[in-house]
Symmetry: C6
Amino acid sequence: MTDIWLPTLVTDTPQAGFELAITLSRRGVKYTQPDPEILKRLRPIYSEDAKALMAASQIVAINFQTIAAANNYWRK
Amino acid sequence: MTDIWLPTLVTDTPQAGFELAITLSRRGVKYTQPDPEILKRLRPIYSEDAKALMAASQIVAINFQTIAAANNYWRK
Amino acid sequence: MTDIWLPTLVTDTPQAGFELAITLSRRGVKYTQPDPEILKRLRPIYSEDAKALMAASQIVAINFQTIAAANNYWRK
Amino acid sequence: MTDIWLPTLVTDTPQAGFELAITLSRRGVKYTQPDPEILKRLRPIYSEDAKALMAASQIVAINFQTIAAANNYWRK
Amino acid sequence: MTDIWLPTLVTDTPQAGFELAITLSRRGVKYTQPDPEILKRLRPIYSEDAKALMAASQIVAINFQTIAAANNYWRK
Amino acid sequence: MTDIWLPTLVTDTPQAGFELAITLSRRGVKYTQPDPEILKRLRPIYSEDAKALMAASQIVAINFQTIAAANNYWRK
């Protein structure tokens, strides 16, 4: 993965920051399991199994903490 | 999802912040599993299974950390 | 839930803060599963199953982090 | 529980802080499951089952974060 | 492990920081299970089982929090 | 445990801090399950079972957050 997919943690709005948290979460999964075939096979499991879905959503929440802090919580 | 659902992390009260943490948590789940049919099928599981319910509540706690910090803990 | 149950994160003592963390944790569970009948059925499970009990206690620990920070750790 | 068991988060040393984190973790479990009979029955499970033991140890790590911050990391 | 594999937490870009978070996560696993034979046997499990994959990705997210803070979020 | 095993959170390098995070994690497990016989029996489980290994590695990541903050991220 030599493409630049994360040039900055700064976003204009909290919502854009939340979407960046989703991106970070997906990238973390991809780095851990880079094989696209296996990922494709797993996706239905972790998005249809309640506990795996909760675990995936926890990762989003942790990454949003990081991004929100990076943006100083978009305070004006 | 192009609607604006998260214009700010600032809330008037801690309780409103807690409710925003619930909203964030639900949105994170929806981004991970956008199919409303599957979500509807999963909801009874993760809200009636003790471990999945605990996992969902952990996400709320993590998001409340973020929102509380954003509001400087509503200190006066 | 329109009653005011969280007017402030500030408490007089660390122990009162810890008890508020318990309250927050219970509220998070209630928001996720508002049906009191289902909750009543689940309570014996998550408080008698070792892993669910640990998960519930993790939520308390995360909420206590938030409340302790809000109170500037009750430093004098 | 009306006894005072948490008068302060401040400790003299990191090690005393770590031990306080253990105390906090045990209290969190007790507040969640106050029945001493059930707790006694669960203790062998969560301390002999690898996954429950790891979950219990995570709570200690989270509480140690809080206490370490409260003590400004015992920096001199 | 006497080689120097972590001389600094500082990276030039957020993306390099994210990759360092992956490295930290792998090292943590290796310190916990240093036997390369067992690790090799486990790798297909934790990268092909949805829940173990989510758990691995959570570690990355936690380590990225640390590294992002260390880099002051690469703010300019 | 009356020996002094944690005199300070300060380390010279990030790598030494990471190793201290391992020590903290092991101590937390030992405080939770002090019986060395049971621990010996559990070790092969939590280091050979993918999910328990991930849980153990999460504890390391959480403790490294604490130690990195204590060392002000070894910034110069």
